[in-house]
């Protein structure tokens, strides 16, 4: 097996597509990058590898810290990073979850074929753009008071069900049924709630979007059948998170942990790895606050789903249930959760941190919704506007290799500032329209920043995921209409 050197760091190939940074110096465990050499060239082009090494210094990291095939530099902990940390003697780190708690994706099926939508793309993209708040200061589907925000934080999509924004089936097809049991609104600051009042049901901006897509390829027909997917079918993908409320939760706890646990912070190489020791009051409080922000994000995506159904109803003059608009699945890719995993032959409870990484549990795992337990958990991987997206199922090897995780997207290769120099939003939009992809955004700069050319090759990311058995491709989709902030 070969070695790979980058930025003074040597990686040893331990098997095909698995590269290890051996434990040395201050590292608390080895680190592994899951990538082809082509992806490793991109991953090693910034500070990703150093951040991955740093992540091993979090107390209690089990086996090895991991970087998924779409990994890139983040703050403190790399994006695409996964760490299983002992929940009894380790720690929990807000920076290893990310500011956008429960940033995630959901996919809504329809019974429309692509031919049913052709000719309606402009009307549909305009209807969706008008119906769904996006951008900075664009408001929310529900603009409300703190008491309602607290209800959302405590109850998640159960609140949306009671208010008529969700169906019972929406809940049973969502990770954790759209409600974290430990969530506690009292652990969330007043500031976070203030920010959450006017953003409930909004996309935001950056890389978040709503996309109408068509299924172009089915790779595993039996699994696709279980997921209700078929070639040429129209689906909707929604990508956003917990908005300002979640960002404030992370900001608050990074600072509180910094002040309360300076001894631990002094031993870490990056302040954005600030961590609360497992069992400490702050660890428990952050876990409850994070759970509440997770609930907020699920309600956020649920309200957008509600408005999406209404937009389709208006354009296609049919009830959402008659259009078959059912939730396929909703999965987080910025989260830490207590999960039981096999470590050295023993079941151990871990805080599994996934920052820009998606849970990918195989068939049989009890956390997988009943509807999919025989085939494996759906994993939704959004790609760029020009390359399409994927639906995977959790791979059989994911529990052994990645604490049940895989990639979360294509992963950026180009900075936003560079993208705005290299691309012009109107040109990107016109090029996409030439490919029958209709894009509408609050800002032309956002389209330039999210141009297809700024992302890694999502096909290669998926190829590595499949080769390692951590996520198997089920279907591929291609955009029809895209709205963003």
């Amino acid at each position: 097996m070969s070695t790979y050197d980058a930025n003074g760091i040597t990686l040893q190939q331990v098997r095909e597509h698995v590269w290890e940074i051996p434990q040395d110096g201050e590292m608390g465990a080895p680190a592994r990058v899951l990538a082809s050499e082509a992806l490793l060239d991109e991953i090693s082009d910034d500070r990703t590898l150093q951040q991955l090494k740093n992540a091993t210094q979090l107390p209690g990291v089990q086996e090895h810290a991991l970087c998924m095939p779409d990994g890139h530099q983040g703050y403190g902990f790399p994006v695409g990073g996964v760490a299983g940390i002992d929940a009894e003697n380790g720690c929990i780190s807000p920076g290893a979850v990310g500011f956008d708690v429960n940033c995630g994706v959901r996919m809504v099926r329809t019974n429309l074929a692509y031919g049913d939508v052709e000719g309606h793309e402009r009307e549909l993209v305009n209807e969706l753009f008008d119906a769904i708040p996006s951008g900075l200061g664009g408001g929310g589907v529900v603009e409300t008071d703190v008491a309602t925000v607290e209800d959302v934080l405590d109850r998640g999509t159960d609140w949306a069900l009671e208010e008529g924004y969700a169906t019972r089936e929406d809940l049973t097809h969502c990770e954790d049924e759209g409600q974290r049991e430990e969530a506690d609104a009292d652990a969330v600051s007043q500031k976070a709630k203030d920010r959450g009042k006017n953003q409930l049901g909004s996309l935001g901006s950056g890389n978040h979007f709503l996309e109408v897509q068509r299924v172009t390829d089915v790779f595993r027909p039996e699994v696709a059948d279980a997921y209700g997917l078929a070639e040429n079918q129209v689906v909707v993908l929604i990508h956003c998170g917990s908005r300002g409320l979640g960002h404030q939760v992370c900001t608050d706890y990074v600072r509180r942990i910094e002040e309360a646990h300076p001894d631990l912070l002094d031993r870490l190489p990056d302040k954005d790895l600030a961590a609360a020791p497992a069992g400490s009051d702050l660890a428990e409080e952050y876990y409850r606050a994070m759970g509440a922000a997770i609930n907020y994000a699920w309600v956020n995506r649920q309200l957008i789903t509600h408005r999406t159904r209404k937009a389709f109803e208006d354009v296609f003059d049919a009830e959402p249930k008659d259009l078959g608009m059912e939730l396929l699945y909703d999965v987080a890719h910025n989260i830490a959760k207590k999960e039981v995993h096999d470590v050295d032959g023993e079941d151990r409870e871990l805080y599994v941190h996934r920052k820009g990484a998606t849970r990918a549990f195989p068939a049989g795992r009890p956390e997988v919704p009943k509807a999919y337990r025989d085939v494996g958990q759906p994993v939704i991987i959004p790609g760029s506007m020009g390359a399409g997206s994927y639906v995977l199922r959790g791979g059989d090897a994911s529990l052994d290799r990645t604490f049940g995780s895989t990639a979360h997207g294509a992963g950026r290769t180009m900075s936003r500032t560079q993208a705005k120099q290299d691309f012009w939003g109107e040109d990107v939009r016109d090029d996409l329209e030439g490919q029958q992809v209709y894009v509408k955004a609050q800002s032309g700069a956002t389209i330039a920043e999210e141009a297809p050319g700024v992302y890694k090759d999502v096909d290669e990311v998926i190829r590595i995921s499949e080769a390692l058995g951590i996520g198997d491709p089920v279907a591929r989709t291609f955009p029809v209409c895209n709205i963003k902030g």
Binding site: D46, H72, Q73, G74, Y75, G76, V79, G98, F99, D100, G135, L136, G137, S189, Q190, K191, A192, D194, R195, N198, Q199, G204, S205, G206, N207, G244, H247, Q248, C250, T251, D252, Y253, V254, R255, R256, E258, E259, A260, D270, K271, D272, A274, R412, T413, M414, S415, R416, T417, Q418, Q442, S443, G444, A445, T446, E449, G485
Partner: protein, 182 residues
């Protein structure tokens, strides 16, 4: 990065998925305000001289923290919070800083534009400035002009980070480097 010459008080710098601001100032308060103006520029390329109604309205804020770096972090986080609750883009930022009374007042302060102690009040906003006595903390008073978000083409910065944060003296004053999560 130390000692570099910037053409403006701030510049936006490349970062893989986020954005960074490099800034300089003649004194500590000046570099804080320059980073804040960089934060506004990261969200909006064309900032108007007044809000959509032709009005110019400023708002004030104060934060306290245990170190200079923490004060910068809390200041920028507070601006992001104010952006979301006031629904305005904070621009044309101004700041003054008071050092803790426990810091040796004989330390050269000419380049800090600091009003030496005593600090009479401390921010008690939950979640960000717990612990420590008032005398131990750095205090910032700031103001910004709020431009209505509805009147501009702006994109979201989610949060300030500590990642690669630099705040250091230079022969000409102060230099700062801050990465923001987008």
């Amino acid at each position: 990065m130390s000692g570099e010459v910037l053409q403006m008080p701030f510049e936006l710098r490349d970062h893989t998925a986020d954005v960074a601001v490099a800034a300089t100032g003649d004194d500590l308060a000046g570099v804080f305000a320059a980073v804040a103006d960089g934060l506004a520029a990261a969200m909006c390329e064309e900032i108007p001289d007044s809000d959509g109604d032709g009005n110019i309205e400023r708002f004030s804020l104060s934060v306290a923290a245990e170190s200079r770096e923490a004060l910068l972090y809390d200041y920028l986080a507070e601006l992001i919070y104010e952006r979301d609750v006031r629904i305005v883009l904070p621009v044309d930022n101004e700041a003054t800083i008071r050092r803790p009374t426990t810091v040796d007042q004989s330390e050269p302060a000419a380049s800090e534009r600091i009003e030496a102690g005593p600090i009479e009040s401390e921010s008690t906003d939950d979640g960000s400035t717990n612990g420590g006595s008032a005398a131990d903390r750095w205090l910032l008073d700031a103001s910004a002009r709020g431009v209505a978000l509805s009147s501009i083409d702006a994109r979201e910065v989610k949060a300030v980070t500590y990642s690669e944060m630099a705040l250091e003296r230079t022969p000409d004053g102060w230099h700062a480097y801050v990465v923001f999560d987008v």
